[in-house]
């Protein structure tokens, strides 16, 4: 039977939902489960995880671990692997997950799959399913080495909601060192363009071709429909709109009643940020764009024809 170690993640003293998603995934794979909670003053989080299906929870609690550093976290995960000898290590694919996972796999000289959305059993072996080519394709990966490591896309599984009696054990975390020094955490400025509570978001992507088109083409539509404007990452990277318009993993996670994606192909980081919208409409000239996989309604056409027509119809509908 497989042994699985979940590397939990704590944000601001609270257990990250993605950790409970790993519990669901691990239980689907099946086997003996243990988890790891890393931080300073996080005993209550470890207790919580042990009651929420995390199995035996190893508690790495030390003042040195108050702030994430890749060196110290790698050392702690290695200690947990030494203690538990898992066959499979699961890590949330967050900003710390992708910082630490590659280093860990290289240190252990073992196989790793990142941003995994599913794990299946096939012929007595595990197959790791993930997106590739910016979500244009799915891929099935097989891993050699031990333990095998997978980072898992947040939101790929439902969070485990059961309760059961687990246990918490302290992990010896003496002798930690880090070459990287934590300086500070800068929170995103509050009071900006908040899309997280918006009912209706219309986002534009690279398909709009130039910044003027956001002002001249998209904005009239957004205003006619009384929506909020969002954007994909390439638009923000190019400086066409400020960062607080960005929808996606590194921007805002939105869940409006209606999300309209215009000229957005749908890279994973964008899809993760909007796929929980109640209803999704996509307008894109490429019928194979991944955005159509998550959309409820799709229009495969030139946005430069559709958007003006839609704006006109919206204005007419209101008058």
């Amino acid at each position: 039977m497989a042994k699985i170690l979940i590397v939990g993640e704590v944000h601001n003293g609270e257990l990250l939902e993605a950790t409970l998603e790993l519990v669901t995934l691990a239980r689907n794979v099946g086997g003996e489960l243990s988890s790891l909670v890393i931080g300073s003053g996080v005993a209550a989080v470890a207790e919580e995880l042990s009651k929420k299906g995390g199995g035996k929870v190893l508690l790495a609690d030390d003042a040195f671990l108050e702030n994430y550093t890749v060196d110290a976290y790698t050392q702690v995960i290695c200690k947990a692997i030494d203690a538990e000898s898992p066959d499979l290590v699961l890590i949330p694919n967050t900003s710390s997950g992708w910082d630490v996972a590659g280093k860990l796999a290289a240190k252990l000289d073992t196989g790793i799959a990142t941003d995994v959305i599913r794990i299946e059993e096939d012929g007595g072996d595990l197959v790791f399913i993930r997106r590739m080519f910016n979500a244009k394709f799915d891929a099935r990966l097989r891993l050699a080495g031990s333990p095998r490591i997978a980072t898992v896309q947040p939101g790929a599984c439902e969070a485990f909601e059961g309760t059961e009696a687990g246990s918490v054990e302290a992990l010896d975390v003496s002798g930690l060192e880090s070459r990287t020094k934590f300086v500070e955490l800068r929170q995103a400025p509050a009071g900006g363009h908040d899309l997280t509570k918006a009912e209706f978001v219309i986002s534009g992507g690279r398909g709009l071709q130039k910044p003027e088109n956001f002002e001249q083409l998209l904005k009239p539509l957004v205003e006619a429909l009384g929506a909020q404007m969002g954007a994909s990452r390439p638009v923000v990277d190019a400086g066409w709109l400020p960062h607080d318009y960005q929808v996606g993993t590194s921007g805002q996670i939105v869940s409006p009643k209606l999300y309209i994606a215009i000229g957005i192909s749908g890279a994973i980081q964008h899809l993760v940020g909007m796929k929980n919208s109640n209803y999704i409409i996509a307008i894109n000239k490429d019928a194979d764009a991944p955005i159509f996989e998550v959309a409820d309604l799709g229009v495969v056409a030139d946005l430069f024809e559709i958007v003006p027509a839609l704006t006109e119809a919206a204005v007419a509908a209101k008058s």
Binding site: V70, G102, G111, V127, M132, F137, V183, L225, L258, E293
Partner: protein, 258 residues
């Protein structure tokens, strides 16, 4: 200051990708290739450090003959010399095999800084950077949006979730992987392209780097790639622009938003 920038050549952003007949990768035959976008920010950052002071910028790329074009582009943008690692044994290797190869390239060079993109636009693994740092025994930070060098160390801003930033300081030498949008990437000037023709471009095989095929034996195998299963996809509406607009408006009304 000596800087290594690792570049991957990937299919052009707007290329139409199709699965190859063996099902395990894309058909590369008629594709146009370009430098991985994430890596272009790493190169630009290195060139800015060079512009601001005294630095040698070395670019390296692994791949078949076609990657020479990307290395020439990087030289045209201002890199000083290029290393092209070309070996049949690297064709099916994985991120760790790439990291081992790049570590062999960097081994005797004593770089102060190693830069590359957070991930590649083809496989999207985001592994090579942290793996290379581990193989080189140096500190790293993944997904940076700003770096400030000072004597013997570098302070960086890492992009975290929801727009917050983690600021950390690393001792040199170290490795940084760059997020997109961290700077405005320059184009190669005509003068730069002319000068690039005279800049050194070394070609190396695994044997030249003291490695064998078994050193880069993959632990990760892509068994199959395929278009995501359809069926859950969108209901596609068709018609003239005004017909489509009318249908969309009725849907928006149905949702109670108009």
């Amino acid at each position: 200051m000596k800087i290594l920038v690792c570049l991957k050549q990937v299919p052009h952003k707007d290329a139409r990708l199709e699965v190859a007949s063996d099902g395990s990768w894309i058909e590369e035959g008629n594709l146009k290739f370009e430098i991985n976008e994430y890596d272009t920010y790493a190169l630009e950052e290195a060139l800015r450090i060079k512009d601001a002071g005294d630095a040698e910028v070395v670019v390296v790329s692994i791949g078949p003959e076609r990657v020479v074009q990307s290395l020439r582009t990087a030289l045209g943008m201002g890199a000083d010399r290029a290393i092209h690692v070309c070996d049949d044994a690297l064709e099916k290797t994985d991120s760790l095999g790439v990291a081992k190869t790049l570590a062999a390239v960097a081994k005797d060079e004593e770089f102060d800084l190693v830069l590359m993109g957070l991930m590649s636009d083809d496989a999207n693994y985001a592994l090579t950077g942290p793996m290379l740092a581990e193989r080189l025994g140096i500190a790293h930070a993944a997904g940076i949006v700003k770096e400030t060098l000072s004597d013997g160390s570098v302070e960086v801003e890492r992009e975290l979730e929801g727009g917050s930033l983690g600021v950390v300081s690393l001792p040199l030498p170290c490795l940084l992987t760059t997020q997109t949008g961290m700077n405005e990437v320059r184009y190669a000037s005509l003068k730069g392209i002319m000068q690039a023709k005279k800049k050194p471009l070394d070609k190396k095989s695994l044997a030249d780097l003291g490695l064998t095929a078994s050193d880069v034996e993959p632990k990760v195998t892509v068994e199959k790639i395929y278009a995501p299963l359809k069926g859950e996809g969108a209901e596609i509406i068709e018609g003239s622009a005004s017909e489509v607009a009318d249908k969309l408006i009725s849907k928006i009304k149905e949702l109670g938003l108009l």
